[in-house]
Amino acid sequence: MLRYLLKRILSLIAVLVGMSVLTFWLTHLIPANPARLMAGQQASAEQVAEIARKFHLDRPLVEQYFYYSKGVLQGDFGNSMTTRRPVLADLEEFFPATAELTVASLVIILLLGVPSGLLAAARRNGWFDRLNFAGSLVAVSMPAFWLGLLLQLYFYRYLDWLPVGGRLAIEDIEPDRVTGFLTVDSLLAGDLETFRSALLHLVLPSVTLAAGSVAIVFRMTRASAGSVLRSTYVRAARSRGISERAVMIRHVAPNAVLPAITVIGLQIGVIISGSVIVESIFSWPGIGLYMVNAIKYLDYQAIVGVTIVVSAVFVLCNLLVDVLYIAVNPQMRGRMI
């Protein structure tokens, strides 16, 4: 296990370096003039040149990358041109919002996807199964941006049940920052009113973000539970007169959870990708929205910073899922080493 971990972490570092090179190179492909933008609209040509010198923008790309990665290793991701702050400060500020949204989506995915998959498998081709199966096809085919807009229209405009976007309402007082998760922080501050508001603001974005993944987790759970149900040892258990409920709980559920973990691991990438669109629709002040703005305004340092950090988190999540997979499934331990 330890050797496996070590090997994974080593290859992870190689991957991160490759990734940063790729991102850095990509973002510098366009012939833009960031120095001019930094210098301000009325700056003279000399001032622009001065800024280019100061930030090494006049050096070859390889050299710029060297300066950049030196900074990153010291915790300096450069400054964002649009927010005019250190990129790291921006990331610290916007990351918790995305993390909270992601966790909320994962909770929805787990709570809806796994049980419905198990139930559907238990009664294959029953009405529940057919309905969910059709529903899952609809869910994976729905463009997230369209679904989000429709939900806003229905739940805010017509029903007036849920807020239209943002993390808190205008009159809410933001709790002191502890975790950056507004739901958690408001509870820590003992402010139930804000907690309720934060939770309500989470509903539409997290549902939009989760929709496609719920369908996929549903299907995976259904498929793997189905194959366990058809396996010889379940048949044997049934023939010994063990109740259907006991079969589901003792044999099917644990076996179906493993593939579900894998799929959730894969879905983290999907959720991070989806957050880009969901955050722009729901004005959710997270990394996704920050990324869209950075790209639109060609904010080099911000793009490189976000991409590296988000991808690093993504890679770490994958590692975590793999480790979890091995931990949950003792049979795998021997094989992975």
Binding site: R85, L119, D160, I170
Partner: protein, 532 residues
């Protein structure tokens, strides 16, 4: 089997319970409506910085105006400059400016506003060389003969200098103590002031979260006092999604919505729940044409394009008549406007005739139209231009670019070849010079200004130079008038329209006075909210 059925029912019951909880818990109703002592403004675009001397963006001044003040001010909705924090006097040769600071004005950190503070702020503005700094170049020296008086000596007269102490981009007064205390590596506290504010204004900053919100609260010690009705708190919320901003305003959760697309504002006007202002404004919308490369360096080709554009369709249908066609580079309500300037109307036969005379009877060339992300009005204008040019056989390739890529491309004459671009000019200084120099003076080509059509006419350059340094009002305006005629005749740009200021606001907000020099900002101190 039956046990699974029970489980399922429990699951459904649980889900139902959760959903029901949401329904009950989330009926906000009237409780959400903004309170009467609090003004809520939504902005679809982020503020760039809280430092009022360091940026030229259009979104940050909204906050600045609540906390910081200028020595001078524009009177009501006019371009007349009047004393505010200080009285002023200009010598007859236009070379000596004397400011006398009013007594008893303090910054919110207790520091008094005196002559030294004013001088220090001007020094800072010049040193950081951002924002309005370019307009301060004529200042040769500064003196503070006594505690209340600051004397500026100019190297040459400048008709824009006074504006640099009055408008949206100007030398705002920041507490010198705050600047000195928070200075780091000789940055004049730029890093600190990006997120902190210490001014003399009616409000002070209580809370600021980048891209989310700014909260201002009453400055109890404000020098003009709090008699009469005023707003106590101002909340500025950055809501990126225009639909959300619109809904917040329509439901009374906010009072004013900034930076909404035209069509959305018109839709709100139609539905009648919200008040939409309809005030003439000096913001000039145009499409700058590339004027330096063949075939566009032929004045007849540019005129042909000017005759082909469907101004009426744009103004009557797209803007629903809340605009009027511009007449040359200076807006009609602005000082120095010349009503004799030529105006182009759509006339396709004439356009074809001009094009044929220039040697392109069937068009046959392609132009580019570039615009930068974030300016939504530029896309439809480009698409309309594309349709118009099609009738002349001229192609138009539309490109949206990030602001950095856009300015990079356009400020380089090589990459800007044959590229038109949508442009808008709102006045920085109260002089027609401001409108014409940046876009059409030869010296403003490339990185120096915004003459990215690379238009050059020595006659125009000469008239503008005469105008800005001429102390005599009548002679000055005559130069500017001539320059306007020349520019309109040579069509280095399509002067599209002057759009009325259409701001959607809550019906119970009172006291709003629009001044075109101040754009998308408010004098919060003069606003009140009446009970619903």
């Amino acid at each position: 089997m039956s046990s699974i059925a029970v489980n399922r029912r429990q699951t459904l019951a649980l889900l139902g319970g959760v959903a029901g909880g949401f329904i009950v818990a989330s009926r906000p109703g009237a409780a959400n409506a903004a309170k009467q002592d609090t003004l809520v403004v939504t902005s679809c675009a982020d503020a760039v910085t809280l430092d009022p001397q360091s940026s030229f963006d259009g979104q940050s001044p909204l906050i600045w105006r609540g906390v910081y003040e200028n020595l001078l001010a524009y009177k009501g909705s006019s371009q007349e400059i009047v004393p505010h924090l200080a009285d002023y006097e200009i010598s007859s040769d236009g070379l000596l400016y004397t400011f006398t600071v009013k007594e008893g004005i303090k910054f919110t950190d207790g520091e008094p506003l005196d002559a030294a503070a004013v001088k220090f702020n001007i020094e800072r503005q010049k040193a950081i060389n951002l924002g309005i700094a370019f307009a301060l170049t004529p200042i040769a020296s500064m003196e503070t003969p006594d505690e209340r008086t600051v004397v500026l000596k100019l190297s040459a007269p400048s008709d824009g200098l006074l504006s640099a102490f009055a408008g949206m981009y100007s030398v705002y007064m920041i507490s010198p103590k705050a600047i000195r205390d928070n200075e780091k590596d000789g940055d004049w506290a730029q890093a600190w002031l990006r997120e902190n504010m210490v001014g003399t204004g009616p409000y002070k900053l209580r809370k600021y979260v980048q891209s989310q919100q700014a909260v201002l609260e009453r400055n109890e010690a404000y020098w003009r006092g709090w008699d009469g009705e005023h707003i106590d708190n101002v909340v500025i919320r950055y809501v990126k999604d225009a639909n959300s901003a619109r809904l917040l305003l329509e439901r009374g959760d906010s009072d004013i919505a900034l930076f909404l697309p035209d069509d959305m504002v018109e839709a709100m006007n139609d539905e009648g729940g919200v008040l939409v202002t309809d005030i003439p404004s000096p913001v000039q919308y145009c499409v700058v044409l590339p004027a330096n490369v063949a075939p566009m360096n032929d004045v007849r080709v540019r005129q042909a394009i000017a005759y082909s554009f469907d101004y009426e369709g744009l103004i009557n249908n797209m803007l629903r008549g809340h605009a009027k066609q511009a007449r040359g580079p200076v807006p009609s309500g602005f000082i120095g406007f010349n009503p004799q300037t030529k105006q182009y109307k759509r006339d396709i036969p004439k356009a074809k005739e001009l094009l044929a005379a220039a040697g392109f009877p069937d068009g046959g060339f392609t132009l580019k139209y570039t615009y930068e992300t974030g300016y939504w009005w530029k896309r439809p204008v480009g698409e309309l231009l594309q349709s118009s040019l099609k009738e002349l056989g001229i192609g138009l390739e539309i490109m949206e670019l990030s602001p950095a890529a856009w300015s990079g491309m356009m400020s380089n004459p090589e990459t800007a070849k044959l590229a038109c671009f949508g442009f808008l000019w709102s006045p920085t200084l109260a002089t027609p010079y401001d409108y014409m120099w940046s876009m059409f003076d030869t010296a403003a080509q490339g990185a120096a200004g915004y003459n990215w059509g690379y238009y050059s006419n020595p006659e125009v350059d000469k008239l503008l130079a005469q105008g800005t340094s001429e102390p005599d009002e009548a002679k000055r305006m005559a130069s500017y008038a001539k320059a306007q005629e020349l520019i309109a005749e040579e069509a280095p740009a399509l002067f599209l329209y002057e759009k009325n200021y259409r701001l959607p606001m809550n019906r119970n907000v009172e006291g709003f006075v629009f001044n075109g020099v101040w754009f998308e900002t408010f004098d919060f101190y003069s606003l009140t909210k009446k009970g619903a």
